[in-house]
């Protein structure tokens, strides 16, 4: 536990001081949202479309973060230091926790910005929250693992995204299914609402499952 906290503190310090990484991701996410808001300025967004567009923003901001999990450590040679000193569970949990916190923060900023710029309201904030939580869990779990897998390969940065995106297909599907209703897509009776909630909780379940099996996979990937 102490080791995990130490990992987190180290991540926080290096990320904040190297600022470039966080800054790039923030600018990227903001640009993404603004481009979409500007493009749809003249049209009234429906819940379905809005959910899809919001997901594109979330996905891309997550993808920009992928290289900063393990690829950076491997590139700068500091991964050696971690392998020598840190228990592998602590590496995984430290990296994942930081990634989760980052994803939550970025999701909050991106969705607030998105809702403000498109002047949309959230008729179902509870469902919206569950959907966002599930997305953050799934995105951070998947990107952490894929970043670890790709870290040692020859074309790291490209490969990490290539590996992560196909794995996120079910996540995208469930995420959009939940968010479209949360953003006020036409609800045809109680069954559609029910399905949307199930998609939201399904997303949370997928996220928890991917985070929980993470350490098992990570142990194989991390050990040389």
């Amino acid at each position: 536990m102490r080791a995990v906290l130490a990992m987190l503190r180290k991540e926080w310090r290096t990320e904040i001081r190297a600022a470039a990484g966080l800054f790039t991701a923030a600018v990227f996410a903001a640009t993404c949202v603004m481009a979409i808001a500007a493009a749809t300025f003249t049209t009234d967004l429906r819940g379905d479309t809005a959910a899809g567009l919001l997901w594109v923003c979330l996905l891309f901001s997550a993808a920009v973060g992928i290289p900063r999990r393990f690829l950076g450590e491997e590139e700068s040679g500091t991964a050696l230091l971690l392998r020598l000193m840190v228990p592998e569970e602590a590496v995984y949990w430290g990296k994942w926790l930081f990634s989760f916190a980052e994803t939550v923060a970025f999701s909050a900023i991106v969705s607030t910005l998105f809702l403000l710029l498109t002047s949309m309201s959230v008729p179902n904030p509870g469902l919206f929250g569950v959907g966002m939580l599930g997305s953050a869990l799934s995105l951070s779990g998947t990107t952490t693992l894929c970043s670890a897998i790709a870290a040692e390969s020859k074309n790291r940065s490209g490969l990490a995204a290539t590996l992560a995106l196909p794995l996120l297909v079910p996540v995208i599907f469930f995420g959009i299914a939940a968010l479209r209703v949360a953003l006020g897509a036409e609800v045809l009776g109680p069954r559609t609402l029910d399905e949307a909630w199930r998609a939201g909780w399904g997303l949370v379940g997928y996220g928890i499952a991917s985070v929980a099996i993470g350490p098992t996979f990570f142990a194989i990937v991390w050990k040389r």
Binding site: K10, L80, P87
Partner: protein, 201 residues
């Protein structure tokens, strides 16, 4: 304390070395010598469990310290923060300032690694390697970038380490050779060598 049994590493279809066997006891300083590219650093990495051997096995020590010239540090962390991090993740280790004093770097405790000279970084790597008083200390060309005072620090560290454990030293430097009590010539372990005085059946 630290042992190797029939250790061999193959890289890209070529054996770097094979049949490396030894068993070290406290007080031993094993020097690994040999020409460039014969696998000195790889052997050290294999002993540190950073590289999987192609054959044979390593009898791992209870705890391990490792310092190599190519080992990177976190550019934006200070010397003190490195050692605090190491202490917390290992769950053991001395106070950062004490260790820094031992490698004569305490004056730069709050300097970030990116602002350090290569010699200062080498000292910080040594500090990280010895902070938790490991039973085996693996050093890859420890004094390569160090000045005279730095070399004396390394000599002191090796002498201190012999009191409680073993040292493995990979080097080609004549001065560093003087610290070794045992010699392992990898030039002879490299398969295909013609004269092999250090090799026995």
């Amino acid at each position: 304390m630290l042992a190797a049994e029939g250790l061999g590493v193959r890289l890209g279809g070529r054996w770097l070395f094979r049949h490396v066997t030894f068993e070290l006891v406290a007080g031993d300083v094993l020097g690994i010598f040999g020409p460039n590219g014969c696998g000195k650093s790889t052997l050290l990495r294999t002993l540190a469990d950073l590289h999987r051997p192609s054959e044979g096995r390593v009898g791992p020590p209870e705890s391990l310290g490792y310092a190599a010239v190519d080992q990177a540090l976190y550019r934006t962390l200070t010397a003190r923060e490195h050692l605090e991090f190491a202490r917390d993740v290992r769950g053991a280790g001395r106070d950062p300032i004490d260790v820094l004093a031992e490698v004569e770097l305490d004056y730069a405790a709050d300097v970030r690694a990116e602002a350090m000279s290569s010699g200062m970084r080498a000292r910080l790597r040594l500090a990280l390697a010895i902070q938790h008083a490991p039973s085996a200390l693996l050093l890859d060309e420890p004094s390569a970038t160090l000045d005279e005072a730095g070399r004396r620090v390394v000599g002191r560290i090796i002498a201190g380490q012999r009191q409680r454990g073993t040292v493995v030293l990979a080097t080609n430097d004549a001065a560093e050779r003087g610290w070794a009590t045992l010699a392992l010539d990898l030039g002879e372990a490299t398969v295909g060598g013609s004269d092999r005085p250090g090799v026995a059946a």
